[in-house]
Symmetry: C2
């Protein structure tokens, strides 16, 4: 089955329209007519080779929503007409301790990323900037009625990436949560932390997006470019979610945590960071990392977001604007996620 | 009240016998006849000025056990004849959120260290290398019958320092715990983790102390100087307690943790450490720090150690051997804690 897609021909060339082959629908597969695909910052890193060499041409996209058009003979959890989503992974071994614990993203045999990976049948995976995709049913999420499909797309990566550490770290009533960076991840972190009942503070470089931040659910908003911020908020937070992948002064952020507080990075700078261990010991603090979430947890997040009317704030674009959108993402000029209308791919 | 003690006259001079003044027993004070005082590595760092300037002459010692000889009019929890202990702090504000939570060691107004600090009455605190000490009753622990007094002394610092993160991180049946370094802290970490029911692995530079490690309760023993160790044990542990204050390769140790695993430093190198955030994100790991424990928790530790017959393995010395002992601690030549018989101070 040949389908329309947008692919990067190489690390330094713009994405261009193309046709790609999708595999036949196997017994446990689901064929999805993609409706919307979000543009994640990591799409750009990956196709440009920042994280290592890639199999080109490469179709990015791991924030996928659409409608099921066909299911394999053994599929029971999805059927034609269902609203579904696919996130950052399309397979895993299902047998290692992490898979068995529902942490497929940490599969000891290597989870299969939605694009640029090699699936268990030997084919190279191609992502969501396409009209259709065939995915193993166990890695297809249900998108509940009651949430806008286009606004739901970014939940599949940005949503679960922030939901998981918020939920696992106990963000909720009585907890003070800070979100560093108000971009695609950050704006969902604010919405989700607010819906969980936490007191939410945005820590952004400037106050430019303050009005947005408060509208999204933040209780407070501070500029990290103002050194007073770090003095004024010392020891304040139970949890800090750092959505910024650039280098940060880890000790300065650890200093904002109360006893037993945790700083969680959901992105990682390419260069190692330095920290003074006294920043941890001085108040029993932790510096932690988190990467997306498991399939069960992603479904829980979609259900939670639907219940709390949380979708991404998006800018819907046609396929011919993908390269422009990449430049605008790199310039932090997006409020807060680009989503491709895949009807424009054909 | 003038009492015999051993003090450091300055940062580069050997400790020498002296007489120091102890304050009058106030309404909430306890006068303790010290029987034994442990020598902690931090005594050496402190008196030598490694952690900043000190008020000399300085009497170190924060692993103190003895017998109550007098109590103030308002003291109800201790009485003359009681076996008691004093650890790393002798006062705190008792009013901040951390004190109220039983985390006096993280007192927001500054806990008062057992020596080299300024107590709330304005006097400079002097530690346990002395025949007597006067301490506020709220910072005096009960040492239960059934534990050898000399072996109990190191529990007041080394014991609580390792007990607290082991207990809080859920070390117990089904959990794999590694202890980095088999010194004063490490040997107690092994005993306590074993008593908690965890599967215990020692990670030591060489296999020199392997026999000891297994005798103390470890199930496995590996040399960190062997690069195979890091490959063989990759992803193995739920918890690693790092008792070594020297520089370590944080990423290498994080790589030994399973999903949700935590590396806890209980000591801190003077220089900042570097780490690659991918080491955290790749398996939802944490890098944490912990500093001694609160008063309530320290009492719980003493009760736990008594119940499980855990004391330190000690080498009892007379006061005139303190300077030799310091050199031997610095050369890692002690199995596993020097304890001063304070009867030899007079």
């Amino acid at each position: 089955m040949r389908v329309h897609a947008y692919a990067a021909p190489g690390p330094s060339e713009p994405l261009a329209p193309t046709l790609i082959e999708r595999r036949e629908v196997g017994p446990n597969d689901v064929l999805i007519e993609i409706k919307y695909a979000g543009i994640c910052h990591s799409d750009i890193h990956t196709v440009r080779g920042d994280w290592g060499p890639q199999p080109y041409p490469l179709v990015p996209g791991h924030e996928i929503v659409g409608i099921v058009t066909e299911v394999g003979s053994e599929v029971t959890r999805h059927q034609a007409g269902d609203r579904v989503g696919v996130g950052c992974m399309v397979n895993a071994c299902r047998d290692c301790v992490n898979c068995r614990n529902g942490d497929e993203q940490y599969c000891l045999n290597g989870m299969v990323p939605t694009y640029g990976g090699v699936d268990r049948d030997g084919t190279v995976t191609q992502g969501g900037y396409a009209t259709h995709v065939v995915v193993d049913a166990d890695f297809v999420l249900s998108v509940p009625e009651g949430i806008d499909l286009a606004a739901a797309a970014p939940l599949l990566c940005a949503g679960i990436t922030t939901y998981s550490p918020l939920r696992r770290s106990g963000a909720g009533p009585g907890k003070k949560v800070a979100v560093v960076g108000l971009g695609g991840l950050g704006h969902l972190a604010v919405k989700i932390a607010h819906a969980l009942g936490a007191e939410v503070t945005v820590l952004s470089q400037s106050l430019k997006k303050q009005e947005d931040g408060l509208r999204l659910g933040a209780n407070h908003y501070h500029a990290t470019s103002d050194p007073d911020t770090f003095e004024q908020l010392a020891g304040r937070f139970d949890l800090i979610i750092n959505t910024v992948s650039a280098h940060i002064d880890v000790d300065a952020y650890l200093g904002l945590l109360a006893v037993d507080g945790t700083l969680v990075n959901v992105g990682a700078p390419a260069e190692p960071l330095t920290l003074n261990v006294f920043s941890l010991i001085g108040a029993r603090r932790s510096y932690a990392g988190s990467m997306i979430g498991g399939i069960r947890e992603t479904q829980e997040m979609l259900d939670f977001c639907t219940e709390h009317h949380i979708g991404a704030d998006i800018e819907l674009i046609s396929a011919d604007k993908i390269n422009d959108a990449y430049e605008r993402v790199l310039a932090s000029d997006v409020r807060y996620r680009f989503v491709i209308d895949t009807a424009t791919l054909g």
